[in-house]
């Protein structure tokens, strides 16, 4: 194809309009990843240095107890958070889909926490779970003197409190997305199942659930990115404590970037986080893009 001057001008104008996007992609996305990769292989402390040290920072990282604990916490949190959000969100969606009264009000109630920030959410739950004034104290005043619910100050259980708070915040979102998926399922399926005398729960498990596949994949991607990002809720609920019991990778990285002036170690951590995201999402995105290519728009 020959480009005439008019076409050339046209594509010049188009690319000029796309300049902010080009800059964002090249500098803010690709550039920063490469920079972090480079810094993670240097011996930088407060300022970036050019001295190449290979994978030494990664070695230090994986010898760091706090980092290992962060990873462990994140894995525990990720599994519980995603499983609980999916289960509760799915149940809420299925129950709301039974043509109940006040459906709109119920949907509003289940989703409102998602409109609030992680910080606000974390603070509310910190207050509810505080053993001195919170739920524990209230139940004791009702006459159950020995009632104990002090997970937030228990090193072994503190991560569960973060799961509770963030499931409360995010399961309404899962409900909203799965409800949209349920409503998209053809009503004929229900009629056919009724004629065949299949119990409702079997229809949900064997037919509806597989048909919700794309919605579930979307929800899973959304929740996984929330897991990797987990930072605000920890800062506002426990500040990583008690001790370092609720440390998470995002917080480890932030602390080393800005508090402890060890940007090389922090960058190594952030690259590990990036690789985790890629390992988690690459297969899913691949399957989805294959499905898109095969089955049209969605």
């Amino acid at each position: 194809m020959k480009a005439n001057p008019k076409q050339l001008l046209r594509s010049l104008v188009t690319w000029t309009a796309l300049l902010p996007m080009v800059a964002t992609v090249l500098v803010a996305y690709l550039g920063t990843v490469l920079w972090s990769l480079k810094v993670s292989m240097s011996n930088s402390r407060t300022f970036p240095s050019d001295e190449f040290v290979g994978l030494a920072q990664y070695e230090r990282l994986f010898n760091n107890d706090r980092w290992l604990l962060s990873l462990e916490n994140l894995a525990l949190y990720g599994v519980l958070f995603i499983a609980a959000c999916m289960l509760i969100g799915f149940l809420l969606a299925v129950f709301i889909d039974q043509e109940v009264m006040a459906e709109g009000a119920l949907r509003t109630i289940f989703l409102y926490p998602y409109a609030m920030s992680f910080v606000a959410t974390g603070l509310v739950w910190q207050w509810l779970l505080n053993p001195g004034n919170g739920i524990q104290q209230a139940v004791r005043q009702m006459g159950f003197e020995d009632f104990t619910f002090d997970w937030i100050i228990d090193q072994n259980k503190v991560m569960y409190t973060i799961v509770i708070a963030s499931v409360w915040q995010a399961s309404g979102l899962v409900m909203a997305l799965l409800l949209a998926g349920l409503r998209g399922i053809d009503g004929e399926i229900w009629k056919a199942a009724r004629i065949d005398g299949i119990p409702t729960w079997r229809v949900y498990v064997s037919i509806v659930l597989p048909m919700l596949g794309p919605s579930i994949a979307t929800v899973f991607i959304l929740l996984s990115t929330a897991v990797i990002k987990l930072f605000d809720a920890v800062v506002s609920m426990t500040q990583g404590g008690p001790g370092t019991a609720s440390e998470v990778p995002a917080k480890f990285i932030m602390d080393h970037l800005f508090g402890r002036a060890n940007i090389a170690l922090a960058s190594a951590g952030s690259i590990v986080l990036l690789l985790t995201v890629l390992a988690l999402l690459a297969p899913l995105l691949y399957v989805r893009s294959r499905a898109n290519a095969a089955g049209g728009d969605k």
């Binding site: 046209r10 594509s11 188009t14 690319w15 309009a17 796309l18 902010p20 996007m21 080009v22 964002t24 992609v25 803010a28 996305y29 920063t32 920079w35 972090s36 129950f95 039974q98 043509e99 109940v100 459906e103 109630i109 289940f110 989703l111 409102y112 409109a115 609030m116 920030s117 606000a120 603070l123 509310v124 910190q126 207050w127 509810l128 004034n133 739920i135 104290q137 409360w168 949209a180 409503r183 009503g187 229900w190 009629k191 009724r194 991607i221 959304l222 990797i228 605000d232 800062v235 506002s236 932030m254 800005f258 922090a266 960058s267 951590g269 986080l273 990036l274 995201v277 999402l281 969605k298």
Partner: protein, 297 residues
Amino acid sequence: MKTSTATRSGQRRPYRLSPARIGVYAFLLTAALFFLMPLYIMLVTSLKTMDEIRLGNIFALPIAITVEPWVTAWTSACTGVSCEGIRGGFWNSLFIVIPSTILPILLGALNGYALSFWRPRGANVLFAILMMGAFIPVQVMMFPLVRILATLGLFSSLPGIVVIHIIFSMPVMTLLFRNYYLSIPQELFKAARIDGGGFFRIFMQLMLPMSTPIIIVAAIMQVTGVWNDYILGLVFAGRDNLPMTVQLNNVINTTTGTRLYNVNMAATILTSLVPLTIYFVSGRWFVRGIAAGAVKG
């Protein structure tokens, strides 16, 4: 993505009050109480005096309602060293939200428009990388961006935090508008071309006016997203522009003195008021926004 909420033909299950129905309502009611509990406790706590909080039950209604905690939270609670309440944070958040909503929407619309109608060669690769970019953890980009903004003299400034919000919202905004414009018939665009419309003229006079529904969705997403942001504001906004979320966290996690739970809860509600109002007012649009944002990738 369908977000249709119309009730299906009632044929599936005839309406009657069976044990199963009662079970359905029992489950939904229990769940509703669980979801409402924190909101209820925030509200009643914020209306109690500290004496009542120390002695009483968090579930109990206030004996003597006081709005004092709200006044304190707004005007004189300590956010770290200064004790001027979180009203400063409110204005900071507002000043951050306004440009961080308008500019990303404009850029997203422009990107979507160029990608779906003009289709410059190579742009699809760029778009694919942009979509992947949405999944990069913030921490990977954090330090390099600090350095870049510092070099440009924008670090810890209002324009700086706005640029950051533009960068982080570009994937979703672009995707939103690209998908919307792909649903507009190409013939319309071609007709405008034949009438002699240029790149920007078609954008300003034809596409933008047609984009109202998606602009509303994008605006809801941006306002709530930017308002609720904590980490970006903490790092990039600078001391003078700290958003309300950061100030709120400082109010509550300030270690000096006794913890004023009533003031804390009032401050939390005040900080959540803007996104909650948007949520309650916009209803389905809000859901449509998160659903549209969720399909990224």
